[in-house]
Structure formats: C-alpha cells, structure tokens
Symmetry: C2
Subunit: 286 residues, 2 copies
C-alpha cells in the first residue's frame, strides 16, 4: 500500500470509516453552508467531497443517481413535471431528463457553490443535464420552496440530500413529507435517500413511519455503492396511487447500471422489511 | 470522532480501505501461516483479524456464513455429507449443521491457530458447531486433502477462504475445481467466496469461466457486509444437476438473515451477470 496523502472520510454517524489515497487536490473551498472539495482519489477518479464526506466519485456515481431517479419514475406511466430537492450536482437531474415524457425539471439546492464546482470539474459527467433547457436550477432552501409552492403540481419529487444532521434534518421528517404530498399530483410519488440498513436502522424506520402517516403506499428500495459506509443504502418511497415494486414501463434508456433486471432486486425483501420495521432485523430474538 | 487507537484494515487489493476504533486488543499471535488477532472494535464487537484483514465480527458474521451455507444447501433436496475447505472459525459449519439431513461435516483448514483462537474468544457464537459430533475438523492443506480423497462422495463442498493471494491462490483455479467435481456426488454442488463485484471483477469472471469448464451449471450469488470493502461480495457456484436459483426446500431454520425472501434477491440480476462476463459491467460501451 502506498503511504502518501490519505483522505479520511468523516461519516457523521458510522462506527467504521474509510480512507482513500489522494492523487490530486483540485479544489478546496467553503460555501455559506459547507466545506467543498474536489479530490482525485486513487481507484475512483474525481470525487466531490462535502464537509469531508465523499458524496460521489466518477467511478460509481451512476449507481446512486440512476436508482434514485429511475425506481420512482418507472413507477409512473408518464412523468412530466419533476422536482428535485438537493442534488445540486445534477446527477439525478441527468437521469430524470432521459425520460422523454419529462417536460420540466425544477432543481432546488441551497448551495450554489456545489453546482458551480460540479460545472467546472465534472462537466463531462453532467453536461446532458446542464445543456438541457427543460432543467431549471434554483438556489434556495428546499423546505421553504416546497412550503410556499403554488405552481403546477409535480408527478415526482426526488430528495437527494446529505446526511440528516444539521440543517438537512427537517427534510427527513413528517411535516416536510406532508408538504410534499400537497404539491404532488393525485398519482404522484416521492423518493428520498435515507441512509443505510447497517448503521442507521432507526433513521430508516423513522422515515418509513413518517411516510406511512402521509402516503397510502410506502416502501424501501436500496442501492449499493462502495463510497458510502454501511453500503446497504436505502431509498424511501411514498406513493399516492402506484405500487413502486411494479415498473409501469420497460426500461429502454441508456444507463450503466439500472435496468428491469436490477429493479427486480432493488427493493428490500419482504421479511427484511418487516423485521426492520419491528426493530428485529438481524436480531436473535424473532 | 474519537481519535484513540485505530485499526487499519489492509485489504490486499482494494483502492479504498477501512479503519475502525479499537476498544480492546484481546489476542495477538502468529501461526505458521498468518498473523492472527482478536480485537474488540467500536460498533462491531469482537473481530477476528488475519494478516491485518478483518475476517468477521460479532455484529455481522451471520450474513456471510448463512449465505455461503444455505444458498447451496437449500439447492439440494437432502444434503447429507458436506465438506468445508477453510472456514476454521466454524461459522459456515454452524449453519450447515442446522440442516437436519446433514449427517457428516468434514472441515479442512490449514491453520489450527484459527480454530483454537475462535474456540477461546468466539465460543458463544459457534458453540453449536463445536459441540456437534457430526463435525470433524482436520488441520491440513485443503488442496492436498481434496486431491487425495477417496472416501464417500460429498453432496456439497463449501469453500471459505481468505483473499486469493499467496497459498490460497490455487484454490481459486480450475484444476482445484476439477478435483472437487470428482469428489462430489452426481447431483452435488460447490460454492466459494470469490471477492467483490466492485473491486475484483476479473477474479469473479475468471472463477466463473473456470467453473464453466468443469460444471454444467454455474452461477453467482452475493451477500453484503460492511466489513468487506467493495461490499457487493460474490459466492461462485458450480452445480452438477440442480439450478441454484431455485430453492428445493422452504427455509424453516432459525437464522438471523437468510430466508426464502432473501434468497430471491441473492443472485446477480441476469443483465448484471451477462455484462460482468462480457467485461462490460458499469461500462458506457454496451
């Protein structure tokens, strides 16, 4: 193992941490909201790092972005109007815009620096989104945007946030989900990144219970990426009409990971879901 | 984050590494074959560490051991005679012995110190195996044992090895799989831990191609545990008669993770399998 410059990922609430070998430091900055870095990591290529937590890398970003976009969107017969909260890197937006039926994507990320930095260092990954006139990017508070929104309702709301600590915390709670319910069409769906099965079972369960109080149909999908510790990472879903385990349309998009076969194993097995909700997952006592 | 004593996992061929906070060092030793440590890790409990790589911890050991045992054994209508290569900790043996039809388990692990240390520090986890008279533990070279074996044929051979470097390497190769084929019954099955989808695609593909040259039916199952970097970790299967995607019997065993629902999502999705074998997985060019 080379012992040169190491970067220690500072996951705010995992018992085990990761470190990477740094090949190059491309950007170090500080926005009003967080520290922002772009590092070149051995074996992963460029990485966007916020508050010393790797958010994504060139090598694996597509797994998370494709799952968060396509699992909910393929649940709908014809998504047209989509809202993304967070996701200022435009990774989820890029995937959403692959759906031909989509006419309008609004992205609300509080931190303008993220979008600026991604535009400069990751343009090759997200140019399809940046150059698409259907995408409108706003830099404001997502909670405030949703609370005050009075425009055309959304078919899907996708929530792509950092960990539920500090200012992001209210965006993982029932009052926020209730506001989202109100700005969704009558067959609308929402999906949110909600941490790992291994390290954050309480968060996953709390979110699912909050969603159950708001939406008639709720579920948990997952994805696996090597840069998030705990790796068995969840996407929590609230749906007004359609069962998210069923894909309404066959996937014919150009993707690197998501496809109908992958979708078929992208939801928690029923017994795992049940045990998680009962607080008995992995327990001897069940 | 507490900055006390850290243990750096030294995965021999992953670009990213993990570290843990050490609460207690219980054992440090050196056998003829490897360094052996028992550490108490914050958030994981006791861990067995070989050559500075975490092999399993109290918190998550059941995921790996249950998957490697039950996926192949539930493929068979009535496994009776089982061989385990490696696995001197007896974790896989404990799971195998839960099958009532099993009459005889032979475990061949080259390193006696592993079994001794596990017996001393992890007895609470594996006592069902240690106390079961159906289990016979031999400390010798697995390759030599298989090559020279002339006894009753095995219904299943389960291979539970460390990474394919050094002396373990020939046990990931076709000549060894051919010897295993010869000591299996005519409907027998073998399964082996074979590294991760993210970091070791070449190994997974090479093993699968080697198995294809020997067995009429081959496949790849997977499991996810936070202590193995790359986390999307494979179990490669060679079968003489039964399709491993089908469970011959309903699981009614007392387990913490494995069950019929879990099994249904424990094989690589067909498109992922195909792209992996073509060397196009995660590629833009497909």
């Amino acid at each position: 193992m080379k012992r040169d410059i190491l970067f220690f990922d500072n996951d705010p609430y995992a018992p085990e941490n990761q470190f990477y070998r740094v090949e190059e430091v491309l950007f170090v900055g500080k926005s009003q909201f967080q520290d922002v870095k772009v590092l070149k990591l051995d074996g992963f290529g460029l990485a966007l790092v916020l508050d010393d937590v790797v958010q994504f890398t060139e090598r694996e970003e597509f797994v998370y972005h494709e799952t968060l976009a396509h699992v909910p969107l393929f649940t709908l017969p014809e998504p047209r109007n989509v809202l993304i909260i967070g996701g200022g890197d435009c990774g989820v937006a890029r995937e959403v815009l692959k759906h031909k039926s989509v006419e309008n994507v609004v992205l609300v990320d509080i931190d303008e620096m993220v979008t600026k930095v991604v535009k400069e260092y990751f343009y090759h990954l997200y140019k399809d989104a940046f150059e698409d006139r259907r995408l409108k990017i706003l830099h404001e508070d997502g909670l405030k945007f949703v609370r005050d929104y009075r425009g055309e309702k959304f078919d899907a709301v996708l929530i792509d946030l950092t960990d539920p600590v500090g200012p992001a915390k209210p965006l993982f709670e029932e009052p926020f989900y209730r506001m989202i319910f109100d700005i969704l069409t009558e067959d609308g769906i929402m999906a949110a990144q909600t941490e790992s099965i291994w390290y954050h079972q309480d968060t996953v369960r709390d979110v699912q219970n909050a969603l159950k109080n708001v939406f008639p149909i709720t579920d948990i999908a997952y994805f696996i990426t090597p840069v998030y510790t705990g790796y068995w990472w969840t996407i929590s879903i609230g749906s007004k009409m359609y069962n998210p385990r069923i894909s309404y349309r066959t996937c014919n998009l150009k993707t690197r990971y998501y496809c109908d076969d992958v979708r078929s194993v992208s939801f928690l097995p029923q017994r795992i879901y049940k045990e998680l909700m009962e607080g008995k997952l992995f327990s001897d006592d069940k």
